[in-house]
């Protein structure tokens, strides 16, 4: 091959690689445009006021996102109440106290938990957790917000544990040594020095776990009962934004109001997860700067 030909090949591939990079921007732009375009089509037909303040989601009368948002918040917050303390304490144990041999066993366990498909977790919500809840609380149907919260916490745990562990590991050893040298015991060091120093990273962990819980579809679709009303407590059946899209999108005719309405709620979900992820990223960066 002569030099000229090699230079041309080099140039062509460079442009090819660059194109792949630029296409990722186009992909995000495309998703954003699709959501925006279809949402505008919806808001031309229906008033945004009804969309945000109405109290029911019923294709016959009114498309109001409120019950769906409250439902989504119920299961997402419920899952965090379980997963955050559990995840951070587990991360603290793995990174600070567990013997090396145990660490080697625990890490694959967390990875296996992360690898289980969401549809299998949802399935267990129906066949295992649902009946348990219905017996424990004496209710007829165990498919409700509590069920969804517990399952989502299991799904968010690996994310929270892994990132919290990184955050705790990133705290410089000198912090711990200084604390111990001043006479603090290992618990005082953990709760008053190490964990507070890791807080930005822990917040990042919680945000990313929350992002995962908010965007999860199959688990909540299968385990929460899907009643589109504003829930009053955790034993009520709920229907999240994701589940609503999954249930209804397959059946609506192309480009009807109902079709556009589903894109409108998807846009709101997109915005919520975007904000949560940006917050997570912000705190992750703060941790990095703090330790540099």
């Amino acid at each position: 091959m002569n030099a000229n030909k090699r230079a041309i090949t080099d140039w062509i591939f460079k442009q090819g690689f660059k194109t792949a990079g630029v296409v990722t921007i186009a992909l995000l732009g495309g998703i954003f445009f699709m959501l925006l375009y279809n949402s505008i089509s919806f808001f031309i037909k229906r008033s945004p006021l009804d969309f945000f303040t109405g109290s029911n989601w019923d294709p016959e009368t009114n498309y109001s996102i409120l019950p769906l948002i409250v439902s989504t918040a119920f299961v997402a917050i419920g899952s965090m109440v379980i997963a955050v303390p559990l995840g951070i304490l587990t991360a603290a144990y793995i990174s600070e106290f567990a013997p090396k041999k145990l660490q080697i066993i625990l890490k694959p366990i967390i990875e296996m938990l992360a690898a289980i498909p969401s549809v299998a977790i949802g399935f267990l919500g129906i066949v295992l957790l649902g009946p348990v809840i219905s017996v424990l609380f004496g209710i007829q149907n165990g498919l409700n917000a509590l069920n969804g919260s517990i399952l989502l916490s299991v799904m968010a745990l690996p994310t929270i544990i892994t990132i919290s562990e990184d955050a705790i590991n990133a705290v410089p050893k000198s912090h711990r040594e200084a604390s111990l040298a001043l006479g603090a015991n290992k618990w005082e060091t953990l709760f008053k020095v190490t964990i507070p120093a890791a807080v930005p990273g822990l917040i990042a962990a919680v945000m990313l776990g929350l992002g995962r819980a908010l965007g999860e579809t199959m688990t909540v679709l299968m385990a929460t009962g899907n009643a589109a009303a504003i829930p009053k407590n955790f034993l009520d059946s709920v229907r999240t934004i994701t589940a609503t899209i999954a249930i209804e999108m397959g059946e609506v005719p192309y480009q009807t109001t109902h079709y556009f309405a589903l894109f409108a709620i998807a846009s709101i979900l997109f915005l919520i997860t975007l904000v949560i992820n940006l917050l997570g990223e912000y705190f992750a960066n703060r941790l990095r700067k703090f330790h540099q």
Binding site: A7, K14, F17, T19, G21, T24, I25, L28, I31, M34, L35, N38, P85, L86, L89, T90, Y93, I94, A98, L106, P108, I109, I110, M112, L113, A115, I116, P117, S118, V119, A120, I121, G122, F123, L124, I126, V127, L128, V154, L157, N185, W187, G215, T217, M218, T242, I245, A246, M249, G250, Y254, L262, A266, L269, F270, T273, L274, I276, N277, E281
Partner: protein, 281 residues
């Protein structure tokens, strides 16, 4: 005395939490495997479903999932690896590079159901691929892209700069350096990331819901324009939508077993590659 007591509480808190997390995995695996294994047999994975899905096997769902993952790979791997090569080997810090990186991070955070909507709008309706295994595979490919890019870039970062400099100093062009030195050296790392991403993709349900998955098809999917059955969707339908839900429960359990074994097998392969690769260095 009081101090000792509080120490004990702390130990219980930490070890208890860790134990509980492990118990979650234990319960999941124990319940699914103990109830799914009896219904599992060679026939189950090699036969067609019969009697309105209440008997027979899951062959079409297996074929569908394999075909789907294959299309996802063909699309997402070259695309994702190219993008990572650009970011790590060519791109200098610039506004464009920053925007590309920000886009990738944001793409990774988008809920999978929104990828499903995008696949429906772009592939099914926009490009007229219809509801097909092609549309669904491409949709899953888009979903996998940010993970493949991130893991590939990490593998590329681990290659020492001296190797690039040595190759370039010998007169190779940058593309030749990448093709003949960097990529072969980074291959195990890239492969690990790709396999882990594919194991996630194979278990995904939400993105394929509107883009081509079907509860039942006649025979197996043989062309990319056809609809297909998939293991995760099969499990979803058997456990929520089937008319004889209690009758098909053993089949649902067995499907869950097959799905989890498939995902764990892929994870194990990735784990072995990673382990060998780490000990090599």
């Amino acid at each position: 005395m009081k101090k000792k007591f509080s120490h004990l509480i702390n130990w219980i808190l930490l070890i208890g939490s860790t134990f509980l997390v492990c118990t979650f995995l234990g319960i999941i695996l124990w319940d699914i495997f103990s109830k799914g294994a009896p219904a599992l047999s060679w026939d189950f994975i090699t036969q067609y479903p019969t009697n309105g899905m209440t008997k027979g096997g899951i062959l079409p769902a297996m074929v569908g999932t394999v075909l789907l993952t294959f299309i996802t790979t063909l699309f997402a791997v070259p695309f994702g690896v190219s993008c990572a090569v650009y970011l790590n080997e060519y791109a200098k810090p610039s506004l464009l590079t920053n925007i590309i990186r920000a886009s990738i991070r944001n793409l990774a955070g988008i809920p999978s159901i929104i990828y499903g909507l995008f696949g429906l709008a772009l592939f099914v309706q926009g490009l007229h691929f219809g509801t097909s295994v092609l549309s669904a595979g491409l949709t899953l490919g888009l979903l996998s892209l940010p993970y493949i890019i991130t893991t590939t870039e990490e593998a590329l970062k681990r290659i020492p700069n001296s190797m690039r400099e040595a190759t370039l100093a010998l007169g190779a062009t940058q593309f030749e350096t990448i093709k003949d030195v960097i990529l072969p050296k980074a291959l195990p790392g890239i492969l690990t990331g790709v396999i882990l991403t594919l194991s996630r993709a194979a278990g995904e349900t939400a993105p394929i819901l509107f883009t081509g998955v079907a509860f039942y098809i006649n025979g197996v999917t043989t062309s990319v324009n056809q609809e297909f059955m998939a293991l995760p969707y099969h499990l979803y339908m058997l456990s929520t939508q089937h008319s004889a839900i209690e009758t098909v429960r053993p089949l649902a359990y067995a499907t869950a077993v097959v799905l989890i074994i498939l995902v764990f097998m892929l994870n194990t392969v990735a784990f072995i590659i990673r382990f060998k690769y780490r000990t090599q260095d």
